[in-house]
Symmetry: C2
Subunit: 123 residues, 2 copies
């Protein structure tokens, strides 16, 4: 009984970004600008976005796109950001958006892992 | 030069949930109820939440918590849901919340992967 895996429903890029610019990581307006632009670079359609600034430091943000979501959580005190770029559909380019985010955060030590999510088997 | 890894900043549970109840996956109110309750089970503090219903089917939702986020994207036509339970801090229980979500979606084939994110090295 041979089974062929179809194209995954989604591609999820898990980014652990070390040695980023701490000033950028604590700038909620800049972070929102970067994630919004990243959604465009991914060729995704934004349907909602939410950003929060924490005290004394740190920013969290989620951009909900028709094709899933892009999320960020930052720890300026560690120069670290956790980013998820998760999109569905052949028209999206999550790795291109990931590259853009890495560049914009001035990250010197990125860890990039791509997960294929929603692997269905043909009957 | 021995280095000791500290506790990770965050725990991210990646859930690929196959063979769920399609009716629940397409019910935006039920999905919101489950994710909201899951945040409580994780002992996380909700600061925002957004849910969207797609046409002809499917639901996306994000619960932003002080400790990161819980997100879901559903494909009722495949009985599949992609869920991320990502929390920070010793007080949170993302696996307990994951177990709750699996049960509530009546998932018969869960894939559960836990990622430790933000592993810092002591100098």
């Amino acid at each position: 009984m041979a089974q062929v895996i179809e194209t995954p429903l989604g591609m999820h890029v898990v980014l652990d970004l070390y040695d980023c610019d701490p000033k950028i990581l604590d700038d909620i307006e800049k972070i929102e600008e970067i994630l919004t632009k990243a959604a465009e670079v991914a060729n995704a359609t934004i349907i909602d976005k939410r950003f929060h600034k924490f005290s004394p430091q740190g920013v969290s943000g989620v951009v909900v796109v028709s094709e899933s979501h892009i999320a960020i959580h930052t720890w300026p005190e560690h120069g670290y950001a956790a980013v998820d770029v998760y999109t569905c559909g052949d028209h999206t380019m999550p790795l291109k958006a990931s590259e853009y985010i890495i560049k914009e955060l001035k990250c010197k030590k990125p860890s990039v892992v791509k997960l294929d999510r929603g692997l269905l088997f043909k009957e």
